[in-house]
């Protein structure tokens, strides 16, 4: 049995694939059908993808979604199995640099003309666009955006600490946390203890201290920046954050703490907008909490980009091609992005969506404004903790160091710096 899938063989498949005109022609002929793989099965994620599927069906399509519950790894196992079997889904959830990596193992759909027709390129942040067009052609479409370093403040927690100012810099943040602590909160921070959460604590610190150093060290793996003073300061800030979190949460996700957060037993949380979707799903009110851009020492918002996306895999079947066409149009549609983001708590990828209307929270409006500001000031960077900055292998090696640092208080910031640099070297 042939037991390798060589790169050459896979690329040979792409040569045989149909060109775009045939793709467009197919749309008229067949009833659009879409096979999709994602890990979105529960909570607001599950609700949002279900709503998207309904829209797809309303447009006359056949929606065949295969949710893979569990970690992202299981979803990728499923995708890999389908690709090796020569039966990739018409589209699947994939994000960040993994889009480029996976596009090398199986032929993808060239979406350039449909993206051009929709004028989508003009309304997507350039850093983000780049990730979805490796090799210069659009093969994947971003669906929604989060910033992983939004600051969630509990109204009751603020009252308890007699504070009313939203912290802007890390110094403000630290001061507020101390105030909350002396007001009787044992643990001012409601973050969880999962691997991505520990990564977020660090990346929020680093990018907030210096987005320039973050870009150089984490995104470009510049050796000097990886050993610079900013990253050491970031580890020191991370330690403070870790000390303000409840150690008993262990490896539980932040959601375990949400009730304590709303009740004001924990005052703050550094989290992405998805926490808003969860809070809403759990029946808490928007008035119970405030969402603001994460601390930034230069006073201007820093945006840690995390975008979910769909990649489109080449299929010969006319109905699947028509389905891909329909799906691409839906994903780029401002109304669909609005619907999706209002369920999950993210913001739309399109920068031209008006968020002033009902259904949007102040937090989402602030997030969108922060994105605009951050892009203008070149302070929108890619999240490491959520697999946007580097490929999974490198990310995981770096998170190993970060999560160990967060959980082990005997590691000094300077040791952590060395370990992170070593991890980068080892994983390359």
């Amino acid at each position: 049995m042939p037991i390798t899938t060589t790169r050459r063989r896979l690329l040979a498949g792409s040569a045989a694939a149909l060109a775009f005109p045939a793709f467009a022609r197919a749309q008229g002929a067949a009833k659009p059908r879409l096979t999709a793989i994602s890990q979105w099965s529960a909570g607001s994620d599950g609700a949002a993808i279900t709503a998207l599927g309904k829209k797809f069906e309303e447009k006359g399509g056949v929606w065949q979604h295969s949710p893979v519950p569990g970690f992202t790894t299981e979803m990728m196992n499923k995708l890999r199995a389908q690709i090796i079997a020569g039966d990739p889904p018409a589209c699947s959830q994939l994000k960040g640099p993994e889009i480029a990596a996976w596009s090398k193992i199986a032929p993808t759909v060239d979406l350039d003309s449909i993206v051009a027709a929709a004028g989508y390129e003009k309304v997507v942040a350039p850093d983000l666009a780049k990730l979805h067009k490796p090799g210069g052609k659009w093969i994947a479409l971003p669906l929604q955006i989060y910033s992983t370093n939004m600051l969630f403040l509990s109204k009751r927690g603020m009252d308890k600490a007699k504070a009313d100012k939203i912290p802007v810099t890390w110094a403000d943040f630290n001061e507020l946390a101390d105030k909350m602590k002396s007001a009787g909160m044992n643990y001012p921070l409601a973050n969880g203890g999962t691997r991505p959460d520990d990564g977020q604590k660090f990346e929020a610190s680093f990018a907030g201290i210096s987005p320039v150093a973050y870009r150089a060290a984490i995104m470009n793996l510049d050796k000097k920046a990886l050993e610079g003073p900013e990253i050491k300061a970031a580890f020191a800030q991370t330690r403070k954050i870790a000390d303000w979190c409840d150690p008993n949460v262990g490896a539980q996700p932040y959601a375990t703490n949400l009730k304590r957060f709303i009740d004001g037993d924990m005052g703050m949380m550094i989290q992405g907008g998805w926490a808003q979707g969860v809070l809403r799903n759990a029946g808490f009110k928007f008035d119970d909490f405030i969402i603001a851009p994460g601390p930034s020492d230069n006073g201007k918002p820093v945006f840690l980009l995390n975008a979910d996306a769909f990649i489109f895999w080449q299929r010969k079947e006319a109905d699947l091609q028509a389905g891909q066409m329909l799906m691409a149009q839906l994903v780029m549609d401002p109304a669909i992005q609005t619907m999706y983001s209002q369920i999950t708590g993210s913001i739309p990828v399109r920068t031209d969506v008006d968020l002033s209307g009902e259904g949007w929270s102040d937090g989402q409006r602030r997030t969108a404004a922060a994105l605009k500001d951050a892009v203008a000031n070149n302070q929108a960077v890619l999240s490491l903790a959520h697999n946007m900055a580097q490929q999974n292998g490198l990310t995981a090696a770096m998170i190993d160091v970060l999560t160990e640092y967060v959980k082990n208080k005997t590691i000094k910031p300077e040791q952590a710096v060395t370990r992170l640099a070593d991890a980068v070297e080892g994983a390359r």
Partner: protein, 306 residues
């Protein structure tokens, strides 16, 4: 017998044709099973020498994948943990199983109920065991919280979030789940001890403890070895349980080889390195199994020669 007559009436049919169905029934499943094991292992060994990342590719990188795995902190921690977890778990589950078996062997009332209680964890999936124990052992929501709420506020049971002790939570959950198996085997062994020997010892005036030490326990040696091998196998391949209970944390304090293999192969998309880690895992298994196989071989020869 009818088919004897039938076969006798058709002497022309060669023997092997007549016996074809039984050959097929024996050989096809056995060969398929053996073939999948051999090819899968060889395939993994081969992949461990290639630069494969997301999917298998051809190529040759020599021992590079092995050296990358061996110097990684994850693997070193996983290996140390395996030594600690493996020996602690095997020893403790052996002792628990033996103790339970001896107790159940005392002709106590309600033996059926008790045996079911000790066996039922085997029916539960590792994922569920891991999840439920992560509730119980989590100091924020589990046993510690309960005791605090009852008024004893200085009580501490926070091994799950303690880097040095977290590995013991895996030991606890693993023993809970699988010591029933050890108990069942030991009980089976105790029940097959020849009653006459015990009678003879009693007539000689030996007390119960002395009888256990001198007469009963020595006969349990073969079972003990079986239990050790089965439990070690469990320890080395422990995966779902750890993933649901600690997921390798706090930090990376409870990494185990099976977790590292899965992580490298599928999460980090470093298939070559993952395969190298898998081969290292197989070598560890062989280090356990070869002495066992040798011991069985020697024992078998001794019994056939005696």
């Amino acid at each position: 017998m009818t088919d004897v007559v039938a076969t006798a009436a058709r002497p022309a049919t060669p023997d092997w044709v007549r016996r074809l169905p039984e050959y097929l029934m024996i050989w096809v499943p056995l060969l398929l099973s053996a073939a999948h094991l051999v090819t899968f292992s060889l395939w993994t060994i081969w992949i461990s020498f290639t630069p494969s990342t997301l999917v298998p590719v051809t190529g040759w990188v020599g021992l590079r994948n092995y050296s990358a795995v061996l110097v990684s902190r994850n693997w070193q921690i996983a290996f140390d943990n395996l030594l600690l977890f493996g020996s602690a778990f095997v020893l403790l589950s052996l002792m628990t199983g033996l103790l339970l078996a001896i107790l159940l062997d005392q002709r106590i009332r309600g033996e059926n109920v008790l045996r079911s209680i000790f066996l039922y964890p085997l029916a539960v999936s590792f994922v569920v065991t891991g999840t439920v124990w992560s509730w119980l052992l989590n100091p924020g929501i589990g046993i510690q919280k309960l005791v605090h709420d009852l008024g004893w506020t200085s009580f501490r049971f926070d091994w799950l979030v303690d880097r040095d002790m977290a590995i013991w939570t895996i030991v606890i959950a693993a023993i809970w789940q699988s010591s029933g198996f050890a108990m069942a085997l030991f009980l089976a062994g105790l029940r097959s001890v020849d009653a006459d020997i015990i009678k003879a010892a009693q007539i000689d005036g030996a007390g119960p403890i002395r009888i256990y030490r001198r007469v009963v326990l020595p006969t349990l040696w073969p079972i003990t070895i079986t239990v050790v091998v089965v439990q070690l196998q469990f320890a080395i391949s422990a995966f779902d349980l750890v993933r649901a209970l600690t997921n390798g944390g706090p930090g990376i304090a409870t990494q185990l080889p099976a977790l590292v293999v899965y992580d490298l192969m599928f999460q980090r998309s470093q298939l070559g390195r993952g395969a190298a880690a898998a081969v290292l895992m197989l070598l560890i298994l062989l280090a356990v199994l070869l002495p066992y196989a040798a011991w069985r071989y020697v024992r078998q020869r001794r019994t056939t020669h005696a």
